[in-house]
Symmetry: C2
Subunit: 231 residues, 2 copies
């Protein structure tokens, strides 16, 4: 999260401003979050947490989030969609001193990640949600807030497009929804509803290669995240 305890008297610099990022992707129909190793003796040893760090004088909170996502978690921003989540300002949220954290959600399609970005290293790895607990600082709470926001926004916006590859089948899209909202959807009803929204366009080609009928490929009509009743 942040570099060091504030070295200045409290009246000069009572609070540090930092940012933390909750980076999501979907792999094989499963929602994953990117965690990093946290080692800050004596407070945290061999702990894990969300990527983040200080905001610099010449950058916005969002720019800092993008930068730390790259520096700490190894994820380049180019294919990543980022949006502000919440600002955490509890006085004791960081044991080393007063730190206010502006948190961000980040979304990246698994297929847009390079091999290095997909890879798990000692310092940063993709974790299943149910394995992401006992995190440093207030990151357990932060992740819960992130999941609640993700689940909520996915039902009334086209946000899920930011987790899908450029081309995908309707079954893959349905599985992405199911991974996030954790309900089973009816295949026929899902297709009727999602196609009626006119947010998808059918591509001219199909996905072949399985030993079964090729599947029609689709892509999102727009890059923009729109507010529209989805589920």
């Amino acid at each position: 999260m942040k570099e060091k305890p504030a070295p200045h008297p409290a009246h000069l610099r009572f609070a540090t401003i930092a940012t933390d990022v909750v980076p999501f992707t979907i792999r094989d129909g499963e929602l994953l979050v990117r965690l990093i190793a946290v080692d800050r003796p004596p407070y945290y040893t061999h702990a894990k947490g969300l990527p983040g760090g200080l905001i610099d004088p010449k950058e916005t909170a969002e720019e800092a989030a993008v930068r730390h996502l790259q520096e700490k978690a190894g994820i380049k921003a180019s294919k990543t969609h980022i949006e502000q989540l919440y600002t955490f300002s509890a006085i004791d949220r960081d044991p080393r001193g007063r730190v206010v954290a502006v948190s961000y959600l980040a979304f990246v399609p698994w297929e847009a990640l390079s091999p290095a970005e997909q890879a798990d290293t000692k310092g940063a790895w993709w974790s299943r949600i149910k394995d992401a607990h006992k995190l440093a600082y207030d990151h357990d709470e932060m992740l819960q807030v992130a999941l609640a926001r993700l689940r909520s926004r996915v039902t009334y916006t086209t946000l899920i497009g930011k987790l899908m590859p450029k081309e995908f089948t309707l079954t893959e899209l349905e599985q992405a929804y199911e991974a996030i909202v954790k309900t089973d959807l009816d295949k026929r009803n899902f297709r009727k509803k999602i196609l009626k929204l006119n947010i998808l366009k059918a591509l001219t080609h199909k996905r072949t290669g399985g030993r079964f009928r090729p599947a029609q490929l689709y892509s999102f009509v727009s890059d923009k995240v729109r507010e529209i009743e989805v589920l």
Copy 2:
């Protein structure tokens, strides 16, 4: 908004953390926002803006918002519902130096305000939304973000309860919705829908005094803001 330019070298304290509040009420079926006078020569003279100020070392951002709402805008917190809006961190959002602002929405029923809180003074007053422009700092943008959030949340939560008096008629509630979402609602359909949600309870008495048929009074069943499809 904030007190003074940061008096310390940039590397010691590059950013100040502040909070701004967007306080809403509804009077006579019209949505109002509380503005204050801003006089910070040479940057702003005889300007207006949203109430706000610095966050102190020993308080959370929300506590600071509550405090400044009281100190700057004269609104006591007791009857006020507050929720975080967005954190603004553009580098030049304050001409006096780097200030990151955690903004809050505040909602208070007009009838819960004391005469002093209802009153307009030279330093603080209730403004119609359409007259609230050309505000200091980035407060025009902040107000727009606040309105968008309010309009959105009102349609899928019971947030409007925080703008209604303890007792109200269905017509008053309908007017409150109309003031916020700026559509005309069908009286019969509105009543059917809102009553079916079971978020209201009919009181034993009616509102009399007009030279017309007395109206049944209602109140919200719960103080909590719930997520439920409303409009």
